[in-house]
Amino acid sequence: MISTASYFWMIPLLPLFAAGLSAVLPRTARRASAALAIGSMGLAFVLSVSAFIGTLAGHGSEHGARSVVNFDWFHLGTGVVRLGVLLDPLAAVMLVMVSFVGLLIFIFSVGYMEHDANGGRFFCFLSLFAAAMLGLTISNSLILLFACWEGMGVASYLLIGFWFHKPAAAAAAKKAFVVTRIGDIGLFLGLLWLYGEAGSLLLFDAGRGCLEPGALALVTTTKVGSSLTAAAGIGLLLFVGAVGKSGQLPLHVWLPDAMEGPTPVSALIHAATMVAAGVFLVARVFPLMAGGDGVTVGSGTSGVLQVIAWVGASTAVFAALIAVGQNDIKRILAYSTVSQLGYMFLGLATGGVAVGMFHLITHAFFKALLFLGSGSVIHGCHEEQDIRRMGGLRRWMPVTFAAYAVGMMALAGVPLVFSGFWSKDEILHSAWLWEPSRWPFVMGVLGAFLTAFYMTRQVAEVFFGEYRGATGRVAHAAADKGHRQKSHHPVQAAHGDGVHESPWVMTGPLILLGVFAVLLGVIGTPAWPWFEAYLGGHEAVFDLGRLSHAAPVMIVSAVVVAAGMGLGWMLYGKRPRTSPESPDVLEPVLGGFHRALARRLYVDELYDVTVVAGHRLLSRLANWMDLLFIGGVVVLVGWVSNAAAYVMRWADELFVNAGFDAGCGTVGWLGRRVSKLQGGRARGYLAGMALGVVALGAWVLWGMNVG
């Protein structure tokens, strides 16, 4: 292993440092914050690549590619809580992906957030997020992983609500936080249970870790009740956490709303990295999920994996269906993300770690590309997000169009050239071979058809036809995004004149991402499954013969994609809509079902009348009880207020009686004293004390390390 690889533990600390530093920079220091964020991310990327190369060097030998550093966190009584970091192929590949995509998105943000007064804060939050995500990636302790998991949650909350004066953004941030918290409870319970069973939350610890044979044998043989093993219970609870974070059914509702955040945030957090953390978690603890058999393809028969497969497949279809009925460019992509995350879970459950992770990596690139492309479109159209008010943009935004088309074809899975085809094909292939049922395969195919369809629809609406956005655009933009600087291009009534291509800081990352969206497919074709071999720790063998085994599924998937894209083009591309108000072509055909799709199949409404209403009822009840009990206290408070009023009158009379001069003097003096007090003296005292504590603590801790 080369020497720089051993510094991989520094990777998350770099953006953390940048976040801390830009937090104390003045709000106006936007450039400094951006430079810090991009610099730290660039350095993190370099370190990640060197770590990745390090794992390549240790490739092939038994556990040779895994390096673990554990350390004591604190002692409590006789127990020790330990944390650790871990570098193995799974972590390395995530490190490279997160830091590279993150770096590109950071650069893109420089252009996108150019007009925002709080840009410095934005980069601070982005860095914080990157630190948490990278930390999660290399955690060797589930506690550390959980801490980073929550750190991402906080950063996500802060960034969704970045434009917090928009009520929708504030509500979306809260919703994301609360809904993912439901999953987090499951995850935390799972962690506690695992700790109780295995006695350690370190993943690898020289034979004592909870993913190593000893502990695995223990948890897979311990029974809870008659049939459920502890491993299954723990696995299900951990999966609940993953469901929350990765927006799977039934906790997917927060993810589309999270699109209220700035578009780079949607690209980084809600498409490429954070939402994939649930997939990563399942991949990380896969031996536990699989019931202890280790990472072997085709072992998808454990109860937990069956659950995961069904949830993933249902989400893939369900979200793809909703995406068909959406008109907001980002919401379509959001539902597409939910759907693709479903594919990843399906891949994990039916085909093992490599299948799910391969789609995670390719998806990260092309979905980040699509989101950034949509950001470029939104930026160019003066904050317009409704695809009905776009059209014909390919003429004014050629680079964005080209990049977006690449992303769209990768997502749709256009055969042979694009990475999305290979990774999705792997999933469909393993779903086909899955023993318990063929239905997940059917659902996957249906989802692939829908994906091709809605992406074609979106591209046709946005980039083809005539521009439809001039009327009422200014008012809309001003009302919707009043906080951002008003459009700096004079908006003219002439069609599309205000639309412009984005600057190179935005198109540059698009092009780079586009290149990778194409090239990445090479590492995971059935003929040369390098990715799987790399994760599995063995050598990849080139064998064209395997292509023929995979051919039937590949042909099915190609036909389905062609059908989806063809139907989409027929309905939306050949006869483009003429005005924003004209109904969708599917409306007459599907009728009520289309309305239901547009309303996201009423899931939010369902939660409103069940969970939220129940909660409200409960809080009303609590409030009522409170009033009842507190009633007496309220009377008492009233009495005390009366007494205080009496005292004040008495004091008043005293001051008045003491004479005008004395009164004035006292009041003036009191004012000076109070103003001193308010001016921070008491605060200064407390700060002095706090400083004393910090100094003493630092001194004695320093002494400990020296002595």
Binding site: H75, A682, G688, L696, W699, L701, G703, M704
Partner: protein, 501 residues
């Protein structure tokens, strides 16, 4: 844990007596409120309170309840009884200084809160359990916050109370947090159990941070740097008898607690404060705080033009000297620290008594109000001179012997530590003492040399004030000349509980 309530009541009988007295004072004052004159109400309340305290002293000396409640919640032995007697005596002194307290018409409540504060301090002295210790500290502190703001018509008093309260609240939070850490490491909430639990414990960051936080809470109570910020404002703003109570009673209780906690609980994680050979732990932390207190207290006092503020900084400096006793002397530290704190408390009580008298007549406590005191009230000036010289540490007054005893303790070889290990701290103490001469003597110059203001009246203290000033002055001279008068009983008590040298 079986709780025997009869035993608890027996162990806490002196405290119970004081609480009953406080309730009686409230009841009697309520009865008298409409019928009696303010003066009569005041003398009745103060007399009743003082009687209760006196009964408590007699009870402790005669009945001598002995034993300890489960978990070290309440400990009553010769040592705690001695400290409680001192605390009760200081409470009586505080009541004695309140004879002319015209700052409040609610004299019954005032006396009752003083008594409750006294109960809190006695409980601080009489427990070896950190939970009880925290509760007792809170009882004492809350009483003192209320007392500091008792002059409701005086905005300075309100401000003092608010600052004291804000600071105290934060310090209490630190203390509780720190104790929870130490509990986490040691697994016990009893002083001795903590000591046993910490024996052989590796010095880990959690424990060190816990110790620092505990030091914040205790450093606040003893007004040690950098947790002293509240002191000058509180001393200046609070009614003078209350300031005396804060300076005297609460200091004795807190220092006794610090010494006991250091010896029983933290001895095993003491580390070393020896120059050039620091070992992280409790004593180097205390040593740093002590050194900072001596420096800041003495130098800040140089700049003061108000006697109460000057006494506040002087108190900060004295806290530093007393903490030197905690750092050094090993098992002898309880003796040196208790001796230092008790004698300082007596001296400060007397000095505040004089300040209170001057303030009541001259209308303030600036240096100018003290000008020519020797000509306006020779007896008072003489007593003040003796008390201030004792604070400065001039032989043969008790302040000298107390410092000497502390420094001697610090230079005594303890457990593998050479006699010169703490020379840096002692040297600093002696050097800052020299600094302190300057401001103490300048104060005396104002009193004895400067001319009184032209329109000044003669100053004549009331009976209670005279009694307090005279008794404290006599004690300062007497114990200074014959330290064994106090040191004898103290060491006997220490020996009887196994904490002697």
């Amino acid at each position: 844990m079986v709780v025997n309530y009869a035993q608890l009541a027996w162990l806490a009988s002196a405290e119970v007596l004081l609480v009953i007295t406080a309730l009686a004072v409230l009841a009697v004052d309520l009865k008298l409120r409409s019928s009696a004159t303010p003066e009569r109400r005041r003398s009745v309340a103060l007399g009743l309170g003082a009687t209760g305290c006196a009964l408590g002293i007699v009870w402790l000396l005669v009945a001598a309840p002995d034993g300890s409640a489960p978990g070290g919640m309440l400990v009553s032995d010769a040592l705690t009884r001695l400290v409680k007697v001192i605390l009760l005596a200081l409470t009586v002194g505080t009541l004695g200084l309140s004879g002319r307290s015209t700052f409040t018409p609610h004299v019954g409540e005032y006396v009752a809160v003083i008594l409750l504060g006294g109960v809190g301090m006695m409980l601080i002295a009489g427990t070896e359990n950190v939970l009880m210790m925290f509760l007792a500290l809170e009882l004492a502190s809350l009483s003192l916050y209320i007392l500091a703001g008792f002059a409701k018509r005086d905005p300075r008093s309100m401000e003092a109370a608010l600052k004291y309260f804000l600071f105290g609240g934060m310090a209490a939070a630190f203390l509780l947090f720190g104790l929870s850490f130490v509990y986490g490491v040691s697994g016990s909430i009893e002083f001795r159990g903590m000591g046993a639990g910490l024996a052989g414990q590796k010095m880990i960051p959690l424990l060190l941070v816990g110790l620092v936080m505990v030091l914040v809470g205790l450093g606040f109570k003893v007004a040690a740097v950098p947790f002293h910020f509240w002191a000058p404002d509180a001393y200046e703003g609070a009614p003078t008898p209350v300031a005396a109570f804060i300076a005297a009673g609460s200091k004795v209780a807190a220092f006794f607690l610090v010494a006991k906690l250091s010896l029983l609980a933290f001895a095993q994680v003491g580390g070393s404060a020896a120059w050039g050979a620091f070992v992280p732990g409790w004593t180097p932390l205390v040593a740093v705080v002590a050194a900072a207190s001596m420096l800041v207290g003495n130098f800040a006092a140089l700049a003061q033009r108000n006697v109460k503020r000057l006494l506040a900084y002087s108190a900060v400096a004295h806290a530093g000297y007393a903490l030197v006793g905690v750092v050094g002397a090993g098992s002898g530290s309880v003796a040196t620290v208790t001796f230092y704190a008790a004698t300082y408390a007596v001296t400060a009580l007397g000095a505040f008594g004089v300040v209170g008298v001057v303030e009541a007549v001259a209308g303030g406590s600036d240096f100018s109000h003290f000008a020519g005191l020797s000509r306006r009230s020779p007896g008072l000036a003489l007593a003040f001179g003796i008390l201030v010289l004792s604070l400065a540490g001039i032989p043969p007054l008790v302040g000298f012997f107390a410092k000497f005893y502390v420094f001697l303790g610090a230079l005594t070889p303890v457990g593998g530590q050479g006699p010169m290990a703490l020379l840096w701290l002692v040297g600093l103490g002696i050097a800052t003492t020299c600094v302190s001469f300057y401001y103490y003597l300048r104060l005396l110059k104002v009193v004895f040399v400067e001319d009184p203001p032209a329109d000044s009246r003669t100053i004549s203290p009331g009976v209670g004030e005279w009694a307090v000033v005279v008794v404290t002055t006599v004690l300062v001279v007497l114990v200074g000349c014959a330290p064994a008068l106090f040191l004898g009983p103290l060491q006997a008590a220490l020996a009887s509980v196994g904490l002697g040298r």
